[in-house]
């Protein structure tokens, strides 16, 4: 433990007695002191609306000005003595000299608490979104297809929801437009947004989720045989129901390779849905999803 031996260098705080009505701190003074009330009573006064009102009262042992001194965050109200009081004033120089005598770990604790509080306060005004492109894609995926929306209205709504700054939102709209997920149209007065196909935006969000986790995304991991099965499946009657051996036989008869392991894999993709009595029917939504992902792979990957 490092404590040093610098007690002699410590500048002591000043203790003073003040009469009722005395202003012990004024925000205009620019001073950054800690005021500790030893005896009596102090009050924070608000005169902003022309009337004098008490914001809070301080009792012996209470103190103010810590944030002002340690974090340069000025206390906004004047402090007055409401009765004859005794106060201790810790000036910036006094605090500095005291901090120098602290063990390093305690100094680190003070700094850490201060810094964590400051970060929490700053975070109140910041977005929580780490991937702003994904966030906007999710938002746009719930808009109606082929309908014109004013970009400024969408941006305001999206900003209210996410706190993402406007310039970032504008950039992300352009990024989605570059991938052809939406169309930006400027008629000279205002820019409108039209969603080409909301499903593509949903697929894009899923793709980003998978890549963020570092794993392979299933639609882009299909082998050639699986892709052939998918294309064949998209062409069969979607109301057709058969059990697993019948489906395997069906694909085999079409010259496609599908064994039991392959069938299980296809089941994991969700291309079939159970339809009772051990029968399965093609899952149209999933098939469309996989086909769209493969067809627009370059748009999704952003390698246009």
């Amino acid at each position: 433990m490092i404590t040093g031996d610098s007690r002699k260098k410590v500048i002591p705080p000043t203790r003073s007695h003040v009469k009722a009505g005395f202003v012990v701190y004024s925000p205009d003074s620019g001073k950054r002191n800690i005021i500790i009330l030893d005896e009596g009573e102090l009050a924070a006064i608000d005169r902003s609306n022309g009337l004098k009102s008490t914001v809070f009262k301080m009792h012996p042992g209470d103190l103010i000005g810590v944030a002002a001194l340690l974090e340069h965050e000025a206390f906004r109200y004047p402090i007055e003595a409401t009765s004859d009081s005794t106060i201790t004033v810790v000036t910036e120089e006094c605090m500095e000299s005291e901090l120098k005598t602290l063990p390093l770990w305690m100094l680190a604790v003070i700094k850490s608490l201060s810094s964590k509080t400051r970060k929490l306060k700053e975070a109140l005004h910041k977005t929580r979104c780490e991937n702003t492109l994904k966030s906007l894609a999710e938002f746009c995926s719930h808009l109606e297809a082929k309908k014109d929306y004013a970009i400024k209205d969408l941006a305001r709504e999206f900003q209210w929801m996410t706190k993402i700054p406007k310039p970032t939102i504008q950039e992300e709209f352009k990024a989605l437009a570059r991938r052809k997920f939406l169309i930006l149209d400027n008629n000279g007065e205002e820019t409108s947004v039209r969603i080409a196909n909301p499903l593509l935006l949903q697929i894009f969000v899923d793709y980003l989720n998978a890549t963020e986790k570092g794993g392979n995304w299933e639609p882009f991991s299909l082998d050639l045989n699986q892709k052939r099965l998918l294309v064949k499946l998209s062409a069969v009657d979607q109301s057709q129901e058969m059990d697993a051996p019948a489906w395997i036989a069906f694909f085999t008869a079409q010259g496609l390779k599908l064994d039991v392991a392959g069938w299980i894999r296809v089941q994991q993709f969700g291309w079939f849905k159970p339809s009772g009595d051990n029968a399965f029917a093609p899952n149209t939504d999933k098939i469309k999803y996989y086909l769209a992902a493969l067809r627009y792979e370059t748009n999704i990957r952003g390698v246009l």
């Binding site: 005291e98 305690m106 680190a108 003070i110 306060k121 929580r128 966030s135």
Partner: protein
């Protein structure tokens, strides 16, 4: 203290009253409470557990050594002896800083919840409208809100519990994978989203928020319809002016129903008069009023829950 790579230093929730300072190596912190949060790395110079030292708070993270790591442990006796060498006010400063941090944490939590509500309502509304269903799988809701606003699942669950306590929805199903969030009315969630959106973007109260008088008139309208089993035609319910006046006399606490009382509801399109409406003419000049019954029920429900929303959320 020295820890080998992979060795656990402490577990989340452990009772604790010490501070750790990483002298060399690297600790990795994880939390089960917030599983979606990324792992935190603590290299040389990092300090962990200020609140365990100052207020004996349990460990917030599970800490594991990522490599050969040396940490210094500061306990409360060391804190006490250090404080004894300094003036009494110094302890007050530490207490103040800790309390201030706690307040900032609570404010952040409240702010996050308030911030997450529109995202939840937006996703939920969109799903109801896109699918025509009256529910959404909880796992899907978690996933989409995380994508939209980076809201973790526990915060979404907290919001859902608040909305459930207001009677707007219900989470059904035993296992997490089977859980569905079901709405009581298909329109109330979109209506609530639209009301919040209008307030935020226009900086004024949404027309969906009714005055007390408007609510009383509509409540009277609904009461007559229910008590008399008034049939609906294409969702529209018709009540005669005489019925409305008679019931209003009984249930509107002395308020006299006049054309002026009814006028704001007609302006908002909630009540429709049988003939052209003149605010200066006696109410009896209109023989009956009709309205979209479901819409009125949803609006009254919205007005019931809206004032309770902020209080229930945080």
């Amino acid at each position: 203290m020295r820890f080998s790579a992979g060795e656990y230093v402490c577990l989340e929730g452990d009772k604790a009253n010490t501070l750790y300072i990483v002298k060399s190596g690297m600790l990795v912190g994880s939390s089960k409470v917030n599983e979606d949060a990324p792992l935190q790395n603590f290299g040389p110079g990092s300090i962990i557990g200020e609140f365990s030292l100052l207020e004996s708070e349990p460990r917030e993270l599970t800490l594991r050594a990522a490599e050969e790591t040396e940490i210094q442990v500061i306990d409360q006796d060391m804190l006490q002896s250090a404080l004894e060498q300094h003036p009494g006010w110094f302890k007050s400063i530490l207490t103040f800083l800790a309390a201030r941090n706690r307040i900032a944490q609570k404010n952040k939590q409240k702010n996050d919840l308030i911030q997450a509500l529109p995202s939840l309502l937006y996703i939920f509304s969109a799903h109801l409208q896109e699918t025509g269903a009256d529910s959404i799988p909880l796992a899907l809701l978690h996933k989409k809100i995380l994508a939209l606003n980076n809201t973790p699942a526990d915060e979404t669950d907290h919001l859902l519990a608040s909305l459930e306590s207001l009677g707007l929805l219900k989470t059904v199903g035993k296992h997490d994978s089977e859980k569905q969030v079901k709405v009581e009315s298909l329109q109330i969630i979109p209506l609530l989203y639209e009301t919040l959106r209008y307030r935020a973007l226009n900086q004024k109260v949404s027309p969906n928020i009714l005055s007390m008088t408007e609510q009383m008139v509509l409540t009277t309208f609904v009461k007559i319809a229910r008590e008399n089993n008034v049939p609906l035609q294409n969702g529209l319910c018709t009540i005669t002016t005489d019925q409305l006046k008679a019931e209003a006399k009984r249930s509107m606490h002395g308020l006299t129903l006049t054309s002026r009382t009814i006028a704001p509801l007609i302006d908002k399109g909630l009540l429709k008069p049988s003939t052209s409406f003149d605010i200066h003419a006696p109410l009896e000049s209109v023989s009956f009023f009709f309205a979209d019954f479901e819409k009125i029920l949803d609006l009254l429900e919205l007005n019931r829950i809206f004032p309770l929303l902020d209080k229930n959320l945080v």
